[in-house]
């Protein structure tokens, strides 16, 4: 059997054509009918057909394998070819050792050719769980006729696997699916031809290449790259090759590559004060927001180790100067001292909103539990109390460690999670997802923690999580945090490493990941701080408290992660190698010491992160808080650096070809001047590679002569070995270009079955 052709690379024009399928996301999903097609085994009366009915009270209403090895599966055949979007697992009404702790779901048009749609696990409780399935790959939607569920691990070791109930949702409307099927089939056909084109050109079957291109009318790549190929590989015109690369850099074509490059974190400690030489005191649990347009950072409140604060500061990025707007906001008609609150900045009206706080010791009469909600108008330096009781207005109660974001264009605020503090409320009362319309002064509950639409992905409330708003797609990104397990009678700590997208427009929850740690992402944790760059499509997360697998003690580590939204991929950018007070003192001027409860804001215009204060988690001094202020830049290679490197490789090839002609004097001259000037001599590897080029000056001419005899078909009398070398160089240069422009990444030869 041939391996599946990967669904990725495609060229510009066709990619947009297939993007039309995105409209499908607005169609309502329906429950898909299915039958059991095949299964590995079953025990006793636990026949796989039982998974078609949901009877949580009946212990026998399930499929159970008769072995717990990795060969177990159920294959489902859908009544109609469909786009399958979610899978829902029903469970027994009690915990059960046969529940699937880990499983995979595959899908495809035939049972022998399926791709992985999901890798996840069920909780060992009685709650129905719904998962989103992968239904498109790089904008190509694919239909399925078969779905295969493969159990990997059961909750009880040595026990067989059981599945109680499976429900699939998606689209099966004939007209919709037929269109998707046709697109998918023609996409695969096109890709096969492109793979052939790539192979024929690579192997220099140029007549075949040309006739296939003409017959199929399919383009292998963007015209710019075809020009590059012609000039470099056929013509050996290295100057024009350099010219084309220069033009490409001017068109910012290397941006995708730059984004992919590992970035280097550069920390700088800012020692700014106000005009009187003062700067904000040490604190944790404070809040900051940023006005990227004017380069101003605002900071309010926090906990200094012994008391709550309500001082209000402004930092000017250009002047590198603090200004204390108010030493005590309550004296200026503003909020009382607080920590663990949240603030959000309205970039259009230049206003700051403040909600929530942590209540130190709830007084029995509930008098210190005011659900206040504030707005600060920056231009007029005025505090406005929007509400004294948000709960009475249909909003959240007194919450802390929640998240609050603002969508300035629609003037909407979204508040999610946090713990509700009130009399007679247990500690586990989590606040749901609320929206607040600034224009209408109106709160609305979008999702409560306990009451969510049936058989959909659940958005469980939590504390100490992160939430960011993408104003372009009108989506909320929600991840990590802490939540106590519901089912177990013991109150186990549960740090999360899940990731959800909430689509505001149609009130829809997408589960991006239930456990990104399993996928190579950050460890589960809470109190992490997150920022976002919409332009780059990246999230940044500075870790706070992490659960340590080996002990009950939380560890504090400074780890900076980057998340690529489109690729759904986490990358670790930075980590403090050591921690502990001694180490922290030593690095205090080079990079920030480990901490949590700090604040991180991101200037989207200047592309700089700012970090202030926090709790260093010092065992010997639990009241210690920090007041250091840091700037963090993530440096990546720029166009000039890429061009230089590209030129080095191009000139290296030109030099070798001069050597082949036997004109060693000219070759030496070229090496000393033209090659040398584009070498980064500080880069050890590159410098070594450069020095080793001299060996070609001593090659005997004989070997090149013999090669020259095998001239290849067609053009310009190029020897086969030179054609191969130039092709390799061409493929090397391709890495700088976006996937959408270039030939497929895969090779036809890799599809040859070896079994």
């Amino acid at each position: 059997m041939l391996p599946t052709i990967q669904l990725n690379a495609y060229n510009n024009t066709t990619a947009t054509k297939y993007m039309d399928n995105n409209n499908m996301s607005l169609l309502p999903v329906e429950k898909l009918k299915y039958n059991i097609h095949a299964w590995s085994s079953h025990s006793a009366s636990y026949h796989p057909k039982n998974i078609m009915v949901n009877k949580p009270q009946d212990q026998s209403s399930r499929w159970s394998s008769n072995s717990n090895n990795h060969m177990q599966y159920i294959t489902i055949k859908l009544d109609k070819m469909s786009v399958v979007k979610t899978i829902t697992f029903g469970k027994y009404h009690k915990v059960h050792v046969c529940n699937l702790k880990e499983f995979k779901v595959y899908g495809g048009l035939s049972p022998n050719n399926m791709i992985e749609l999901l890798h996840s696990g069920l909780k060992n409780d009685c709650e129905t769980e719904t998962f989103t399935l992968k239904y498109k790959s790089n904008d190509i939607v694919f239909p399925c006729l078969y779905i295969k569920i493969v159990p990997l691990v059961a909750w009880g070791t040595n026990f067989n696997f059981s599945i109680w109930y499976v429900e699939l949702k998606g689209h099966s409307q004939q007209n919709v699916v037929e269109k998707i099927y046709d697109d998918y089939i023609s996409y695969r056909e096109n890709e096969v031809i492109r793979l052939c084109l790539k192979h024929f050109r690579q192997r220099c079957y140029l007549d075949t290449f040309n006739s296939l291109q003409q017959l199929s009318n399919i383009k292998l790549e963007d015209q710019l790259l075809t020009d590059l190929h012609t000039n470099l590989v056929f013509n050996g015109d290295f100057d024009t090759t350099e010219e084309i690369l220069y033009k490409a850099s001017e068109r910012n074509l290397f941006n995708d590559y730059i984004k992919e490059c590992k970035c280097i974190p550069v920390w700088r400690r800012i020692t700014a004060t106000d005009k009187n030489g003062n700067s904000p005191y040490m604190r944790g649990g404070h809040q900051m927001c940023i006005d990227s347009e004017l380069g101003k950072i605002y900071m309010f409140g926090g906990w200094d180790g012994s008391k709550n604060l309500n001082d209000f500061w402004e930092y000017d990025e250009n002047l590198e100067e603090w200004t204390c707007l108010s030493p005590d906001t309550s004296k200026d008609g503003g909020p009382s001292p607080r920590s663990c609150h949240r603030i959000a900045f309205d970039s259009i009206n230049k206003q700051i909103y403040i909600l929530g706080y942590f209540i130190e010791s709830p007084d029995p009469n509930g008098t210190n539990m005011e659900n206040d909600f504030w707005k600060y108008d920056i231009p007029s330096h005025r505090w406005i109390k929007l509400s004294s009781n948000t709960a009475a207005n249909g909003g959240p109660g007194v919450i802390y460690d929640h998240q609050m974001v603002i969508e300035p264009k629609s003037q909407m605020i979204y508040v999610f999670g946090g713990r509700t503090q009130a009399k007679n409320i247990s500690e586990d009362s989590y606040s749901g997802l609320y929206s607040y319309s600034i224009k209408e002064d109106k709160w609305r509950l979008l999702r409560s923690d306990v009451n969510q639409p049936e058989n959909t992905v659940q958005l469980k409330s939590r504390i100490g999580h992160s939430m960011l708003l993408n104003p372009e797609t009108n989506e909320l990104y929600i991840f990590a945090g802490k939540r106590y397990k519901d089912f177990s009678s013991e109150r186990k700590k549960n740090y999360l490493s899940d990731f959800y997208i909430y689509r505001i427009d149609d009130d829809y929850v997408i589960e991006v990941s239930r456990n990104y740690t399993m996928q190579g992402g950050p460890d589960a944790g809470f109190t992490q701080r997150a920022t976002m760059d919409i332009e780059l499509g990246e999230l940044y997360m500075l870790s706070g408290l992490l659960s340590d697998r080996n002990s009950n003690v939380d560890t504090v580590k400074n780890i900076l992660w980057m998340y690529n939204i489109k690729k759904n991929k986490w990358t670790k950018i930075y980590q403090n190698v050591n921690f502990g007070s001694e180490y922290n003192n030593r690095i205090s001027d080079k990079e920030p010491c480990t901490r949590f409860a700090s604040q991180l804001v991101y200037d989207t215009k200047r592309k700089v992160q700012y970090l202030f204060g926090g709790n260093p988690g010092e065992m010997s001094d639990p009241c210690l808080r920090l007041n250091d202020f840091w700037e963090l830049k993530l440096e990546r290679p720029n166009n000039n650096e890429i061009l230089r490197k590209a030129k080095f490789h191009i000139r290296k090839q030109k030099y070798k070809e001069i050597c082949n002609t036997g004109d060693y004097l000219q070759a030496l001259k070229f090496l000393q001047t033209n090659v040398s000037e584009v070498v980064n001599h500080n880069d050890e590897n590159e410098s070594k590679e450069f020095r080793e080029l001299t060996q070609f000056l001593f090659h005997t001419q004989k070997s090149s002569n013999t090669n020259n005899n095998e001239n290849i078909q067609g053009r310009n009398n190029i020897s086969a070995s030179v054609y191969k070398e130039r092709t390799e160089l061409y493929e090397f240069l391709l890495k700088y270009f976006p996937t959408s422009m270039k030939e497929p990444l895969e090779n036809l030869v890799d599809l040859v079955p070896m079994s």
Partner: protein
């Protein structure tokens, strides 16, 4: 219902209530120490009521010490067809630490294991069994002795067989 150590029970409703203060720590336990009322009991094979899988071949019908209305089956050694699941807990009846056992075939909870018996139960008359099966989770069948005519009795089982609590721990299959 739940819990702990058991009295032997005759197949009818007549319960043997002879008190029997014997040290039943498992290390010193041996077949000879069994009270005569236990020795005369028949040995049962226990199958899972849900998936029919074999759970144990050394079952004894018994009643619960703490609540003599509760009938169950017990055995003296870790049974072949079950595994401990979840964590220890205690019930209202006594201070014994117990943990559920589930059938390896279907995963359903079919009984429990006394991981740490309490003093009260230990000082009462008991059969020294720490593995219990719920009546409604198992199907019991009396085993026959080598003649195939009479029920196999506990007196005929040796303690050493405990280790070989396997499917064919008696020579039922004869080469003839």
């Amino acid at each position: 219902m739940n819990s702990q150590n058991v009295l032997p029970s005759n197949s009818n409703t007549h319960h043997n209530r002879n008190h029997h203060y014997h040290n039943l720590s498992r290390s010193s336990y041996n077949n000879n120490s069994l009270h005569s009322s236990f020795k005369s009991k028949s040995v049962c094979q226990l199958n899972c009521r849900y998936c029919q899988g074999v759970l144990c071949r050394r079952g004894m019908k018994a009643i619960l010490l703490a609540d003599t209305r509760v009938e169950l089956y017990s055995t003296d050694a870790a049974p072949i067809g079950v595994q401990l699941v979840a964590n220890d807990y205690v019930t209202r009846n006594c201070l014994c630490q117990i943990r559920d056992v589930a059938c390896l075939g279907c995963g359903n909870v079919v009984g429990y294991h006394v991981t740490q018996p309490c003093e009260v139960c230990m000082s009462a008359c008991n059969n020294g069994h720490f593995w219990m099966f719920h009546n409604d989770s198992v199907r019991a069948k009396e085993r026959m002795d080598s003649t195939g005519q009479k029920p196999l009795l506990w007196a005929q089982l040796s303690y050493h067989d405990k280790a070989s609590n396997t499917y064919d721990d008696e020579c039922e299959i004869l080469c003839r």
